[in-house]
């Protein structure tokens, strides 16, 4: 528990070339938390972005104070992935809840995560694009079809008990995240899926919150072409090993 017995939320933001989006995300997070009166901190884990993301992070640290913004600029590893960024970020996190989200404004900042967690005292609250009034913006039919198709296959094979497995907008209890990080070995999309599957196995409670995924406002997408193949390979690996 954070000192004083109140909850503190540490938001982990792995970034690469997010100079345009980062200040906006931070501003939105700060405003949302401040308005709701929740204690928070934002941990920016930048992988040596060449576009000056780190410099912007340092400016934000001056504006908001270094108790609220923690800028980790060391180059973590050549193979930067969400997993290593989270591990690195968690070492510096002082909150008892950790929020994971994308720094590119695709995730619409929402207080519902906090509310949902309180409502059910969940270990994990997962954002879902597929239920309630969750959804997407800026996706063409092909992308939606692939998303729904992939999710269907995942549901049939893994029966995970959560509707959106590849989403990366989640709230975790700190101890839960630490335990899961030890156990998960995959990378990329599959890593996010593995977290939920392992969480289920370990008996953690998972709540869901509808989220809006708004396609890129600024910046380029980091998605490549081999995604579908690697997704299927990862899915089959999870199928055979969990």
């Amino acid at each position: 528990m954070a000192p004083g017995g109140t909850d503190k939320f540490s938001v982990l933001l792995p970034t690469y070339n997010e100079r345009e989006n980062l200040p906006l995300v931070v501003w939105l997070l700060a405003r949302t938390f401040q308005e709701s009166g929740n204690d928070f901190e934002i941990i920016i884990i930048d992988d040596g972005s060449p576009d000056g993301t780190q410099e912007i992070a340092e400016q934000l640290e001056k504006i908001y104070g270094s108790d609220k913004i923690v800028s980790l600029g060391e180059i973590i590893s050549v193979l930067f992935s969400s997993g290593t960024a989270y591990i690195h970020g968690m070492k510096h996190a002082t909150g008892n809840f950790i929020v994971i989200m994308d720094a590119d404004l695709s995730h619409h900042v929402s207080l519902y995560f906090v509310l949902k967690q309180k409502e059910g005292n969940f270990d994990i609250v997962s954002g879902t694009r597929y239920k309630g009034n969750g959804g997407v913006y800026g996706w063409d039919l092909k992308r939606k079809l692939i998303s729904r198709g992939a999710n269907f296959i995942t549901q049939v094979l893994l029966r995970p008990g959560a509707s959106d497995l590849t989403g990366s907008f989640r709230l975790y209890r700190k101890e839960v995240l630490q335990k899961l990080m030890e156990k998960c070995v995959s990378k990329g999309y599959v890593f996010q899926m593995e977290m939920i599957v392992r969480a289920r196995q370990l008996g953690y409670t998972i709540g869901e919150v509808p989220i809006s995924f708004v396609d890129r406002v600024y910046g380029e997408s980091k998605l490549g072409g081999n995604e579908i193949v690697s997704f299927l390979k990862g899915l089959l690996t999870l199928f055979a090993t969990t």
């Binding site: 200040p23 906006l24 939105l28 400016q59 800026g138 809006s212 055979a240």
Partner: protein, 104 residues
């Protein structure tokens, strides 16, 4: 080694393991009934239906999958308001941050 892992008390069965067990169970039941020697006297229509049953089930599952994915695709929400709201937030953020001294 993997065989013993399936039955050790701590090991949970993998999803693959569950599927294989399920298929083995259903498969052997089907084989026993459908391919049985005449010693087991089942009514003829039942036996005729039993033989192609796996194919029927596969086709039925295929149809179910297409229908489900199609339905979910059609009802996939488009978040117009969220996108519009985001644009407003961006303007507000840029204005406020410039005021506070951020050099974009």
């Amino acid at each position: 080694i993997r065989f013993s892992r399936l039955f050790s008390p701590q090991a949970a069965m993998t999803k693959l393991g569950q599927w294989l067990c399920g298929l083995a169970l259903l498969g052997s039941a089907w084989a026993a009934l459908a391919l049985a020697s005449p010693g087991l006297r089942l009514p003829a229509p039942l036996r005729e239906a039993l033989l192609p049953l796996p194919v029927y089930l596969l086709v039925a599952f295929g149809c179910y999958s297409l229908a489900t994915v199609g339905y979910r695709l059609a009802t996939f929400n488009d978040c117009e308001e969220a996108a519009a709201e985001l644009q407003e937030h961006i303007s507000a953020a840029r204005a406020d941050l410039s005021r506070r001294g951020l050099c974009f």
